[in-house]
């Protein structure tokens, strides 16, 4: 036996004054009366009524002491094994995977059914039970015993990924050995048989088996220099019979092509869309845009019926070279090679540095600006920048190359081994190429701007004589044409938080994240920001200070699209039974009510003389 508030036991000391008062009250006082006869008549009459009268005095003491004990228990909160109901802690896990968005026959989603069941469960809890609510994305509310308020606040969580199901359950159970996790889901969880068997995890299944078809995979590909992109999509149907639907290709919200699609049961079918501006004249596809391939008509689970892609501009970037008087021949030769391959625009621009201030406002994200052995006073606000051998302090003779960043996109498949450098500056920043003395090439990227600085001129090394340099340029051009100037990826999976993978174009401020009617404003700190997962498939727009990036959200998860019944391997324990009515009332209230009842009883017994 233990107590929630042992200090409340001090109340028992009130028993001493109660006993004293009892004996004081019980003492016999002398009272002269003019004639005892009348008193004897009425007292005999009273005494005849019940034998309990003799016990009244002691009954009064017992009732008073019982009231004191009850009051003490109300304050101290005793826990008696086998007598008092232990307080339980539950972690409610709401499945927020996309499959929960599937409509049920009553028109409501599985997520709404799960919420109903969760509210029912909360309503059946005993007073003092504590509950925390989590979803499979990891969002959680702290444990609270105010289950009514919690039930009122309960809402369908944002869709998330199922991948971390076991980890989330483990997180929920990690709150304590006494915690029982209740998972409200439409699918039997996997890899949790141990918790199911031990009873620490209980599963509440919602949803009925449904037939469904939709996209289960998709990707956008583009070969360097090509002015077209290819969408490769995989569709599947999880039904017993063949399904016929129609693919609708849309660009920026307008349908530009349709074709039928027949799906055999459980046989994935790969479809390809070649987005060649020449094939879709008048659509301005070469400028890029938001492309959707949707399956019509819509079914019970529309989440997987849309495949979305952000198509980058298909024309190559323009290049301008600023030089001190004459551009490097080695550089120009390399650029002409790129020009010949269609990787950069056909008009190659060359200008002396003194024209930079004049041209700078015209240089935007479609430009690659190369500073050949010159250093601008201010860098371009937008676009890609390549600086080669800019003059400055920190020069070293014959630096020895020791390493390079193989993960950096410009270094893709590049090998600097054996590179000879006559003289170079040691730079500061993210190293792209590291010598013994320090970085001799650095790179940086943030929203709308990407740059590489090489501390030596091409003439000061044998870099231009190697394929490495050409590869570096190709990588750089390709990178800045697709992802290098972006802060966000072009595609994310449903349930994945919308998080900038590179610093934003603003360091501090507010980023507006919009998807359809839903708008979320996210604070930007040190160029970084993270928004909640998208509410569903489609496009999400991130904008701030006049610059906008789009990203496409897709489900592409066969497991989520398969809405057929899949029985659990382990049945697991049932839900705890509903608490009886008295367990829903605070014990202190019951005890105080009992105290009042006892005091009224004592008053009736002793002072009103019911016995």
């Amino acid at each position: 036996m233990n107590f929630d508030h042992p200090s409340g036991l001090w109340l028992l000391t009130l028993g001493v004054p109660i006993l004293a008062f009892h004996f004081f009250k019980g003492r016999i006082r002398k009272m002269p009366v003019p004639m005892l006869l009348f008193w004897e008549q009425v007292i005999v009459e009273e005494e005849r009524r019940t034998a309990l009268k003799r016990l009244r005095h002691w009954a009064s003491l017992l009732v008073a002491l019982a009231a004191l004990v009850l009051l003490t228990s109300a304050v101290s909160g005793p826990n008696v094994q086998g007598f008092t109901r232990p307080r339980m802690r539950y972690a409610l896990l709401l499945d927020n995977t996309p499959g929960m968005a599937a409509s049920e026959p009553d028109g409501r989603s599985r997520a709404q059914h799960a919420l109903d069941r969760a509210r029912e469960f909360l309503g059946a809890l005993a007073y003092g039970d504590q509950v925390s609510v989590l979803d499979l994305s990891g969002a959680r509310t702290p444990f609270t015993s105010d289950v009514d308020a919690l039930a009122g606040r309960l809402e369908a969580p944002r869709p998330g990924a199922r991948g971390a199901e076991r980890e989330r359950i483990a997180d929920a159970l990690a709150a304590g050995d006494d915690v029982i996790a209740i998972l409200f889901t439409d699918q039997a969880p996997k890899g949790v048989d141990d918790w199911l068997a031990s009873g620490r995890l209980r599963v509440v299944r919602v949803g009925t088996a449904r037939e469904n078809s939709g996209w289960i995979a998709g990707r956008l590909s583009r070969l360097p220099g090509e002015k077209k992109v290819v969408l490769t999509l995989t569709a599947a149907t999880f039904s017993a019979s063949k399904v016929t639907r129609e693919e609708v290709l849309s660009l920026n919200g307008e349908a530009i092509a349709r074709r039928p699609l027949e799906l055999e049961p459980l046989i994935p079918k790969e479809q390809e869309w070649v987005l060649d501006p020449a094939k879709f004249p008048g659509t301005r596809l070469e400028e890029g845009g938001l492309v959707e391939v949707s399956l019509e008509p819509a079914d019970q689970f529309p989440v997987d019926d849309i495949a979305s892609f952000v198509v980058p501009p298909l024309f190559p970037p323009s290049v301008i070279v600023f030089h001190p008087g004459k551009p490097s021949e080695l550089l120009m030769h390399a650029l002409e090679t790129l020009q010949a391959g269609g990787l950069i625009a056909q008009n190659l621009n060359v200008a002396k540095l003194d024209r930079y201030d004049e041209l700078r406002p015209k240089l935007g994200e479609g430009w690659i600006v190369i500073f050949d052995r010159v250093a601008p006073a201010t860098m371009p606000e937008r676009g890609a920048t390549l600086i080669l051998g800019a003059p400055g302090p920190g020069g070293v003779e014959k630096p020895a190359i020791v390493d390079w960043d193989r993960e950096a996109p410009p270094n893709h498949r590049v090998d600097y081994a054996g590179l000879l450098i006559r003289r170079s500056r040691i730079l500061s920043g993210e190293p792209l190429l590291r010598a013994l003395e320090g970085p001799v090439a650095t790179w940086s990227a943030r929203g709308g701007r990407a740059s590489i600085e090489i501390g030596f001129a091409l003439e000061e090394s044998d870099l231009a004589a190697r394929p490495t340099f050409l590869l570096l340029l190709i990588n750089f051009v390709e990178w800045v044409s697709t992802r290098g100037l972006r802060s966000f990826r072009t595609e994310i999976a449903m349930g994945e938080p919308i998080r900038a993978e590179r610093p934003l174009w603003i360091s501090e401020g507010e980023l507006t994240v919009a998807q359809g009617d839903r708008v979320e404003r996210v604070a930007v700190r040190r160029g970084l920001a993270s928004a909640s997962p998208a509410a569903g498939p489609g496009f999400v727009r991130m904008s701030a200070l006049g610059r906008t990036e789009w990203t496409a959200v897709n489900l592409f998860d066969a497991g989520e699209s398969d809405l057929r019944e899949r029985p659990a391997a382990v049945a697991g324990a049932p839900l705890p039974p509903p608490a009886p009515w008295h367990a829903k009332v605070p014990y202190a209230f019951l005890a105080v009510g009992g105290v009042l009842a006892l005091l009224v009883l004592e008053w009736l017994l002793y002072h009103r003389g019911w016995i």
Partner: protein, 290 residues
């Protein structure tokens, strides 16, 4: 015990009522059955030699030829006996002091009306305290005598009133000032007084604590007269039963008085004396305005 002048004036304006026509010793203002020399005509009777000639009604003789003499009622005083209960039960709730004040006030009214006043105390027997006082001048003697009276013993009216009351001349008006607590019963004793052809007025002195006891809890109840004790827990319900029983007791006395044509008045011991006298006056049958 002191009466102020204003109160004495009030008392002087009152007169003791006697339902039965009683006889006294001396001439006074109260009519008696006896023939006398008052102005109040009573009857005729035939003239017999020796009768006063001045009482012959010559008008009757002129009409009938027979001699008749007129007879007149005698105006005499009455003998008032105040019987003050001095049993121990009167000590409760200031009843004894209140009873002494009432006895003094009634005695003063008697003296002021030229009645002969005697003061007796009674318990288990009757004891004279002061006899045959007449005139207002004896009031201090009366008050002094009342002051000296102490409580003792038990009440036994039958035993006290059974033998003829000692040397009460004529048929006296008895003012019985008591709490009527008599284990043997008050009725037998009063009947003894009636059998002796006394006029009897009943003045019941009651303490407020008897009417509505305030005590609650465990008590050892001690009978003031007998000294007997009883342990009891006084609950509101017990008090209610007791109060009911006491009111029934009062009603029984009142009913007894009504049945025997006895005037009955009940006074509260803690009321002011003026109020107690007014209560007696309001009860009717004991006092009247002159």
């Amino acid at each position: 015990m002191a009466f102020d002048a204003k109160f004495l004036k009030t008392l002087e304006a009152l007169n003791l009522l006697a339902r039965r026509t009683l006889t006294g010793d001396d001439r006074a203002d109260r009519l008696t059955p006896r023939k006398g020399a008052s102005l109040e005509f009573n009857d005729y009777r035939r003239y017999t030699p020796g009768d006063e000639i001045r009482y012959i009604d010559w008008n009757v003789y002129a009409r009938h030829g027979n001699l008749f003499v007129k007879e007149f009622t005698a105006e005499e005083n009455i003998h008032v006996s105040v019987l003050l209960d001095t049993s121990k039960s009167m000590e409760f709730g200031g009843k004894f002091e209140a009873a002494k004040e009432v006895a003094a006030a009634l005695g003063f009214i008697g003296l002021a009306n030229y009645d002969t006043l005697s003061l007796f105390t009674f318990g288990a027997d009757v004891r004279p305290v002061k006899k045959f006082l007449r005139g207002k001048g004896r009031v201090f003697e009366l008050l002094s005598a009342i002051e000296s009276v102490q409580t003792e013993g038990v009440t036994d009216m039958k035993r006290a009133f059974g033998p003829a009351l000692p040397r009460l001349r004529g048929r006296s008006l008895i003012l019985l000032v008591t709490d009527f607590y008599d284990l043997g019963g008050y009725s037998e004793g009063i009947r003894e007084l009636l059998a002796q052809r006394f006029g009897v007025h009943l003045v019941h002195v009651v303490a407020r604590e008897e009417l509505a006891p305030q005590a609650r809890g465990r008590f050892s109840l001690i009978d003031l007269e007998t000294g007997r004790t009883k342990d009891a827990t006084l609950l509101p319900r017990t008090i209610e039963s007791y109060t009911r029983r006491f009111r029934q007791f009062c009603s029984e006395i009142e009913e007894f008085g009504r049945a025997h044509e006895l005037a009955y008045a009940r006074v509260l011991a803690d009321d002011p004396l003026e109020r107690r006298v007014i209560e007696i006056l309001k009860a009717g049958g004991i006092l009247e305005h002159r």
